[in-house]
């Protein structure tokens, strides 16, 4: 297997007067869950369509699992699985027949196909319901089945386009758990688009943020958090006075210190340092400390900051 699962080089795609993807370049290493984040209309789905060879780029090129998306599109689709915007299940067919159909598409031998279908449906806890029409299933169950379908033929790479969108909390958690368990067990590379920052934070080793078809940021979630603001400390207590604030602001490791209210002090640090010296300083200045906690920007805050920067 190639060490780079996806390589995008300066890819652009225009739809008449609209530029959906603009000079996008990125590299996705094999074996990780890669989050592709962006607001509605950012170009996420167009990028997936370009990577699957369903659309041709206006300029630039891309490789998926070492195959050119324009000249070897069928190879790309053979070596990948996809759960797109909609589950894409045939609702009048049973769950088993849905998987059977896609197993046949990928030319899986009969015995292997049957074993794999049983394995996946058992893993999802729906083996007993395999003969039921999918149309009678809940949205969450359908999404789990669609995830199973994407992984059916053991692809080294799967594209997941907002797999938990529109699901209730319980269903979304189940799908996320399944996604995490299945991808870890099967060692696949996942290209995941999502709106849900908590989901990206939990699942993704690397994320890229796209807006207006352009790459805004790329890195692991920790790196992006640092970009939005370094680590911090929050101290809850009584007796915060101006001299405490001045003392902290003069400290070389402190970027800023601010009272959020009379009992809540927020400190931005230059780096992830030991908190004890600062807490000692505050205590020695007469503050009665009740609670100290570290703070970090969430990926959601990072995302919002990036969107603000781009405006």
């Amino acid at each position: 297997m190639t060490e780079t699962a996806i390589l995008i080089e300066n890819i652009t795609r225009d739809f008449k007067m609209v530029r959906a993807v603009n000079g996008l370049s990125l590299e996705v290493p094999s074996g990780i869950i890669f989050g592709f984040l962006g607001p509605n209309g950012a170009g996420k789905t167009t990028t997936i369509n370009l990577l699957l060879g369903l659309l041709e780029p206006t300029s630039g090129r891309a490789e998926v699992m070492g195959f050119d998306t324009c000249t070897q599109a069928n190879e790309v689709r053979t070596h990948s699985g996809a759960l797109l915007e909609h589950p894409g299940l045939y609702e009048q067919l049973s769950a088993e027949d849905n998987l059977e159909f896609y197993g046949r598409i990928w030319h899986m031998p009969v015995n292997e196909r049957r074993d794999r279908i049983k394995e996946l449906l058992t893993h999802m806890g729906v083996w007993e319901r395999r003969k039921e029409r999918v149309g009678t299933w809940s949205k969450g169950m359908k999404q789990k089945l669609a995830l199973g379908r994407a992984l059916l033929h053991h692809p080294p790479l799967v594209f997941l386009d907002e797999p938990t969108a529109g699901l209730d909390v319980v269903a979304a958690t189940e799908v996320r758990d399944d996604l995490e368990a299945l991808t870890a067990r099967e060692g696949v590379t996942v290209f995941l688009t999502t709106h849900n920052m908590a989901e990206a934070e939990r699942l993704c080793e690397q994320v890229a943020v796209i807006r207006g078809g352009e790459l805004v940021a790329i890195g692991n979630p920790d790196e992006l958090r640092e970009r939005a603001g370094g680590p911090g400390l929050e101290i809850l207590g009584h007796g915060f006075k101006d001299n405490v604030l001045n003392m902290l602001r003069a400290h070389p490791d402190v970027v800023a210190a601010e009272l959020l209210n009379e009992e809540h002090l927020a400190i931005d640090l230059r780096e992830d340092m030991d908190a004890a010296p600062l807490v000692n300083l505050v205590v020695s200045a007469g503050v009665q400390v009740e609670e100290v906690r570290r703070s970090k920007a969430s990926l959601e805050e990072v995302f919002l900051t990036l969107m603000e920067e781009e405006k």
């Binding site: 739809f15 689709r77 797109l84 909609h86 589950p87 009048q92 159909f101 896609y102 029409r133 379908r149």
Partner: protein, 249 residues
């Protein structure tokens, strides 16, 4: 195009037809009405003329039109309406395997039902008018029933694919396909009326035309026209049914 890929699509389409509207029972009930109307009622009404005259063409023309008119939009526009098309296109199936697999099932199913109805009506006529001899369609009508119904099914399927690719919903595609296929028939019926009412001495001309008509010739001409139209439509469908176009649509 690998035949196994086309067969995979056909497998799914056949499953879909079996489970049309949710269950096998409903699918079979849907067949019971044309079966009763054309397989039983029509032979009862028309009798021996059904096998001796051109009446069996009613079955050979309307059944493929009706069945293909329902199944092709379900198969093509239905994939888009139910959001299953994108996932299908993201698979390694070739465009042609998808197109021909779907068309083959729709045409095969409709043609099969047509043949079955023709057989049932033949049996009915023989039962009702049994005089010690087995009645059978005339050779030219047999050819017309077998070949014309197949060519007509392909023709409607070709138009249906093109209409479905432009339609937003199954209903839109079915309506538009019905209009497109019924219009030429309505036009054909207008010709005698025009001859009678507009053309001077039209009645004599019409009688002359009917008397001069050679059924074999008419059927062979119709078959030639259908073969050429079918090929043209299928080639256009191959050109139009392409991933990039479908995704953009």
């Amino acid at each position: 195009m690998r035949f196994s890929d086309m067969w995979t699509v056909m497998w799914k389409e056949m499953k879909g037809i079996q489970r049309y509207k949710g269950s096998r029972t409903k699918s079979l009930l849907g067949l019971a009405i044309p079966m009763a109307m054309l397989g039983i009622y029509l032979p009862l009404q028309i009798g021996r003329a059904l096998v001796e005259g051109p009446w069996s063409l009613l079955i050979a023309v309307f059944i493929p039109m009706m069945m293909v008119g329902m199944t092709i939009p379900e198969s093509f526009a239905g994939e888009r309406e139910r959001h299953t098309l994108e996932t299908l296109l993201a698979s390694p199936l070739t465009d042609r395997a998808i197109l021909f697999g779907k068309v083959a099932v729709s045409v095969g199913y409709s043609w099969g039902i047509t043949m079955m109805l023709l057989l049932v009506s033949l049996v009915m006529v023989n039962i009702i008018h049994w005089d010690g001899q087995v009645l059978f369609y005339t050779p030219i009508m047999t050819l017309a029933n077998v070949a014309l119904s197949l060519l007509l099914a392909i023709l409607v399927a070709g138009i249906g694919v093109l209409k479905s690719l432009r339609a937003a919903t199954v209903q839109d595609a079915q309506q538009s396909l019905m209009t497109a296929t019924l219009f030429p028939l309505v036009l054909l019926q207008m010709i005698p009326l025009l001859l009678l009412n507009v053309v001077p001495d039209g009645r004599a001309l019409l009688i002359k035309l009917v008397e001069a008509a050679n059924p074999t010739q008419i059927i062979l001409i119709a078959m030639t026209v259908f073969v050429v139209s079918d090929l043209g439509l299928l080639m256009t469908a191959v050109t139009r049914f392409q991933r990039a176009r479908l995704i953009l649509d």
